[in-house]
């Protein structure tokens, strides 16, 4: 699993908590790094921050979706951007989750594991339609 965030504390938190659940974590500090790792390692899921230096999260998501090899990697946004517009944009990009900072890192592992499981069963589109509230928190206010 790839965690792309320019904030080291966030990456650290994700790594610590996902490792507990036995999930191997790759880290990227900016968009460029994230794209490179996604292409080379083909992770099962990308936890993607939106505001990163060099290449931002939107671009990363667009590029991954545009490429044959990375198109099917599920993307869950992990961001402090709280506006409805951002959420809608993420939806359009085919994101499978939108986790708003601050978040509970303890619940992160079961959440992403669930997404990976559904996707591996080919239920990505259903999941997009369902949009479970833990993945798309309802308390987002622009």
């Amino acid at each position: 699993m790839l965690v792309a965030d320019d904030e080291p504390p966030i990456r650290l938190l994700c790594e610590v908590n996902l490792a507990v659940a036995g999930i191997e974590v790759l880290q990227a500090a900016d968009g460029e790094e994230a794209l490179a790792l996604a292409r080379s390692e083909e992770p099962d899921l990308v936890l993607l921050d939106l505001m990163m230096p060099n290449v931002d999260g939107w671009t990363v998501a667009e590029e991954l979706a545009a490429e044959e090899g990375t198109r099917d990697i599920p993307i869950v946004f992990l961001t402090a951007r709280a506006t409805t517009n951002d959420r809608r944009r993420a939806e359009k990009l085919g994101a499978l989750g939108y986790v708003l900072k601050p978040f509970d890192p303890v619940r992160l592992a079961p959440l992403v594991a669930g997404v990976v499981a559904r996707c591996s069963q080919g239920e990505a589109d259903e999941l997009r339609r369902e949009r479970p509230s833990e993945l798309w928190p309802a308390d987002l206010e622009g």
């Binding site: 504390p9 938190l13 507990v20 230096p53 060099n54 402090a80 709280a82 900072k101 601050p102 978040f103």
Partner: protein, 803 residues
């Protein structure tokens, strides 16, 4: 004449008697002497008493001569044939003498009569010459003429300007009421005057019967039979009227009488013609004078209300008994601007009446009609029916107007440039002559000049108002664009030209759509309905110079054009956007450290996992650092609020800027990212500065943080200190991303953040530099930047030295 006749008769009887008595007194006068004396007596009687007296005297003298003095005396029978022949001769001679004197007397009498007639005619002429007004002339003609003609009564009828009506303009001596119903009558009527004028021929009737035979209509006139003479008044071979003389008795009109009447008629005609000419000339002169005065008055002032009131007064009393001016108000009502009459009390009364009976704009006649139709109303003769109609059933009003004795009226519209501005009314009562076409012409001319003056005054006022308005518009910050109905720009003020990025002089007269970039947007969103208003709406306009600008526009249509008010809200719009960006940024900035703190705490509190001490330490450290960061952001926001509210109080203390800088660098060193080198290079002689040490620490610390943050690839950050005049200069130089030149002035603005592409994802509240600038300036220092993208930035802070 009569007295001399009586004297004649006395002489006829007494003179022969006296001579006869000589016989008794004297002793026998001679027969010849007596005959001579008797002839003298006969001459005297004939001279004084005429032929008849002479004859009587002749008979008496003959008998006296025969009886007393012819022998045989005291006997009528002459003594012999010679004596008889002598008496006969005496008789014949005496008769001849009588006749001789009679003829002489007749000649003298005729001469006297001629003189008397001449005198009477002379009197008529003299009176006529004295008469000035037409009425005086007419009065003189009837008064003197009747006397000169030895008539009982007389009347003058004149042909009116219509050429079809005869009006009795003067009369004298008739019984009352004889002309009731005959004040005027048609020329074509079967009347002596009508016929006399038609045929330009006099008619003389010696008796009433003769008259009635000629004119059946006259048969109803009662009274004793009398003579009547009707003569046409002819001037330049044209009958202008007729004069009638009614005599007390039946008269034979001999040639002499006829001639006298003809002379009178001729004199009258000439006098009437003369006075008419004079009157016409006088009226013309009066009109010219009046027009000249009026024009001068109208040109004298731009205050047309006062001017028109003065004009109304000028028209009174020569032009009118009453003069009023009404003006059409913008709301369509008719307002009485002025009423004039010679008597101020009457004016006040009329004004009250006007208030009581305000004009109805739909009224079918009078001022409202004249204004509505822009056509003059000319009523030469105000008939009673007209008053009844005008009163519209109001008995009180009818009585009032009847009492005014209104005779003749002219109402002319005040029209300028095809628009009715009001009306001018002239009314004469029965003390003044009727209005004629000439008066109508004059009134029309006057109205034309008055309207033009009113219009000019209006235009001038408008121009003046516009002048004022455009002067004001030149100085307001709001843009104002005035469009004509066809969309052409009538005027555009400097602010509008600036906002819309056009040249004021170049676009006036052009259509807005064709000459102002982005106008179609305004047209689509702010164009008002006819007579309506629209907006304000805020629109992004792409202007002629290619720039985009946010403009708040509202439009007002005023019938023959529209005015648009524009305000450049680009700045406000940017500020608004910056502010909402700030809310998003601040929330993001707060959420990120919060997420770290919260996440670390939740992780540490996991019960299913036990972390090794290193991990625990790492997480605890994270909480510490991120909580610090959080508090820094909150502190910045609070500080901004304080700065905005002016509540922040700075210390004024003396401190060493070098020591301060070094301490900032020391604490920054504690968590310096890898690849960043921090250095301080201070000159030896930097003196102490005056200011708030803690706040300056915040500023420098902020600049150092920025330098580190915007050097994502690492590099040197150098702090240089030296003295610059009365300031200590602190430079913070990095070799990081740098800032484009045209952003330099904006980075110190509140909430302003560089384009994310330029900051490559570097976070921030957009408050740091704003706070730094505010703080430095409040310490009477200054802050600036020198930077280029890719070559790093140098921020310069200068703080005044302590004295």
């Amino acid at each position: 004449m009569r007295s001399s006749t009586a004297l004649g008769w006395a002489a006829a009887f007494l003179a022969p008697a006296l001579i006869s008595s000589l016989d008794a007194l004297s002793n026998r006068p001679s027969y010849q002497l007596a005959g001579f004396l008797y002839l003298l007596a006969v001459s005297l009687a004939a001279y004084l008493g005429g032929f008849a007296a002479g004859l009587v005297a002749t008979v008496l003298a003959t008998l006296g001569l025969d009886y007393f003095f012819t022998p045989p005396r005291y006997d009528f029978i002459p003594a012999n044939g010679d004596q008889a022949a002598g008496v006969g001769l005496f008789f014949v001679v005496a008769i001849l003498i009588s006749q001789l004197f009679e003829r002489r007397r007749q000649v003298q009498q005729q001469a006297e009569a001629a003189t008397a007639r001449a005198n009477r005619l002379q009197a008529v002429t003299a009176r006529l010459a004295e008469a000035v007004t037409p009425q005086e002339v007419l009065d003189a003609i009837v008064t003197q003429g009747v006397e000169a003609a030895e008539a009982r009564a007389g009347a003058i009828g004149l042909l009116m300007t219509d050429g079809e009506t005869i009006e009795i303009v003067a009369q004298r001596g008739y019984e009352q009421n004889i002309f009731v119903g005959w004040e005027s009558f048609p020329l074509s009527s079967d009347t002596p005057m009508g016929k006399a004028i038609r045929e330009e021929k006099p008619f003389f009737f010696s008796t009433s019967a003769e008259r009635n035979a000629a004119f059946k209509t006259m048969a109803t006139i009662e009274g004793p039979s009398h003579a009547l003479a009707i003569l046409p008044l002819v001037v330049e071979a044209r009958a202008i009227g007729a004069i009638a003389f009614t005599f007390p008795t039946e008269i034979e009109f001999d040639a002499e009488r006829r001639a006298l009447k003809a002379t009178l008629a001729q004199q009258a005609a000439q006098a009437i013609d003369r006075v008419r000419l004079y009157e016409a000339e006088r009226a013309l002169r009066q009109r010219m004078t009046f027009l000249a005065d009026a024009s001068e008055l109208l040109g004298s002032s731009l205050d047309y209300e006062t001017t028109l009131a003065q004009l109304a007064r000028l028209a009174v009393p020569e032009m009118a008994t009453w003069c009023s001016v009404d003006i059409l108000a913008p709301d369509g009502s008719i307002q009485r601007l002025a009423v004039a009459h010679e008597d101020p009390d009457r004016v006040a009364w009329a004004e009250r009446l006007g208030e009581e009976y305000p004009p109805d704009p739909d009224q079918p006649m009078g001022v409202p009609n004249v204004i509505r139709t822009m056509t003059a109303e000319f009523i030469p003769e105000i008939a009673d029916e007209l008053l009844v109609e005008a009163a519209q059933g109001d008995q009180r009003l009818l009585e009032i107007v009847r009492e005014l004795g209104l005779r003749s009226a002219i109402t002319v519209p005040l029209v300028a440039r095809g628009r009715a501005l009001g009306a001018l009314s002239l009314i004469r009562d029965d003390t003044a002559p009727r209005y004629t076409e000439l008066d109508l012409d004059l009134a029309s001319e006057l109205a034309r000049r008055a309207a033009s003056a009113v219009d000019n005054a209006g235009l001038y006022r408008e121009a003046e108002r516009r002048g004022d308005a455009s002067r004001a518009l030149a100085h307001v910050d709001d843009g104002v664009v005035l469009l004509a109905e066809d969309g052409a720009i009538v005027s555009i003020n400097p602010a509008a030209a600036r906002i819309l990025a056009v040249n004021e002089a170049a676009v006036v007269g052009e259509t807005a759509l064709g000459s102002i970039g982005g106008w179609s947007e305004i047209e689509d969103n702010a164009r008002p309905e006819p007579g309506g208003t629209r907006g304000p709406v805020t629109l992004p306009l792409v202007l002629s110079d290619g720039n985009e600008r946010w403009v708040s526009v509202s439009g007002v249509d005023f019938g023959d054009g529209a005015v648009y008010a524009l305000r450049d809200v680009t700045e406000e719009r940017l500020l608004e956007r910056t502010r909402s960006d700030f809310v998003a940024t601040a929330s993001h900035e707060l959420r990120t450290p919060l997420a770290a703190v919260l996440g670390a705490v939740k992780t540490l509190r996991r019960e299913d996992v036990s972390f090794d001490p290193d991990q625990r330490e790492m997480l605890m450290d994270m909480i510490d650092r991120e909580a610090e960061r959080l508090s820094g952001i909150v502190g910045q926001i609070l500080l901004t609020g304080q700065l905005d509210a002016g509540r922040l109080r700075l210390e004024h203390e003396r401190f060493d800027p070098v020591a301060l800088t070094k301490s900032v660098v020391d604490s920054a060193e504690l968590h310096l990212p890898s690849g960043i080198e921090l250095r301080v290079r201070a000159a030896e002689d930097v003196p102490a500065v005056a200011g708030d040490e803690n706040q300056l620490r915040q500023v420098i610390s902020n600049l150092v943080d920025n330098a580190i943050k915007y050097s994502p690839q690492g590099g040197d950050v150098e702090l240089r200190l030296h003295r610059n005049g009365q300031f200590a200069r602190i430079e913070v130089a990095d070799s990081g991303l740098g800032i484009p030149r045209d952003e330099h002035h904006r980075i110190f603005e509140k909430f302003y953040r560089l384009d994310p592409a330029l900051t490559r994802g570097v976070n921030g509240t957009g408050l740091g530099l704003y706070i730094s600038k505010e703080l430095v300036e409040r310490m009477n220092g200054r802050i600036s930047v020198d930077s280029e993208p890719g070559r790093g930035s140098t921020f310069v802070v200068e703080v005044p030295l302590a004295i």
